[in-house]
Amino acid sequence: MADLITHAAVAVLAQRLVRSPQVACLVAGSVLPDLLSRLPSMFFAEVDRRVHPLPTLLQFGWEPFHLPVGMLLASMGLALLFPEAHRRQVLAALLGGMALHLGLDLLQDHLGQGYLLGFPFIRGSFELGWIGSEATVPWAPLLVAIAAWSWRHPPKAQMLVAQRPVDSAEE
């Protein structure tokens, strides 16, 4: 997986192209696969290693959130927490962010130990293996700088959308 900073920066840059009205959801979608899977998995692995043995489910059970079917479920669940009027936009933005995340991760090479994209229906793993697993690290500062500039200077059409209070319909 690429790091969260890179994922978020790529999502900010992608927003310039897709112009989603739910920017926060797009960026959140780009970091949620790692936050929902890797973070709890690493935490419980450390507890298992240092404190007390835990059921393996607590280490491996989060992994589907980093795979398409789990991403779909997570996006659906999260979208249901939003007001009904915005749900389609939110779902599209979350799924878009998660697809960006997976796309970036698939570029990496883990010696053939890729991602189980077809889980739970197909067992085979897949990765493109075009870049090393840390290839994005040296580029991250530059990417963040470009993303920050892009954030501060959105396209004019996007600025007009941003001025519209999206939540007002619910108030």
Partner: protein, 153 residues
């Protein structure tokens, strides 16, 4: 999709999402225990596993036992590897491909890749987690039983 995203039976839909996620987690856990052919599986029947290829991507060097032997750990701890240790250091992250040998038993290294940027990646990851934990509550809030975007609109 409209039906799935409507407010009708919202609690049931959310419950279904949680249950399905739990089911996927259980299924993945089962898969993780059975599918990858790893060191533990080899050790169950070392002779039968002789020559099996093992791939250990992004494992940590936990011991260096001379010029041609070291140990790596990740989910499984202290897997012995036969291979040159020149340039290796404790705590370093490496990816190793090798074959299982019951004599030892040991993994005979056939390919190794160092990951010098791994610590930088971990550091960026930690910064990212902190940014996410600060940024997400700034971007969303809970209002009238619903999650709403508050920044940026």
């Amino acid at each position: 999709v409209n039906g799935l995203l409507s407010d009708r039976h919202r609690v049931w839909k959310l419950s279904a999402v949680i249950l399905l996620s739990l089911g996927l987690g259980v299924r993945y856990d089962h898969l993780a225990q059975t599918v990858p052919f790893n060191w533990d599986r080899c050790m169950e029947d070392p002779v039968a596993a002789s020559g099996r290829q093992l791939t250990m991507a992004l494992w940590q060097v936990t011991a260096i036992d001379g010029p041609d032997r070291y140990e790596v750990s990740r989910i499984i701890r202290d897997v012995p590897v036969a291979g040159p240790t020149a340039g290796l250091s404790l705590g370093q992250t490496v990816s190793v491909v090798g074959t299982f040998s019951p004599d030892g038993p040991v993994v005979l290294e056939s390919f190794r890749r160092a990951h010098p940027w791994r610590r930088g990646k971990v550091a960026l990851g930690l910064i990212g987690v902190v940014c996410a934990l600060v940024g997400l509550p700034m971007a969303f809030r809970w209002r009238s039983g619903r999650l709403v975007t508050r920044w940026p609109t």
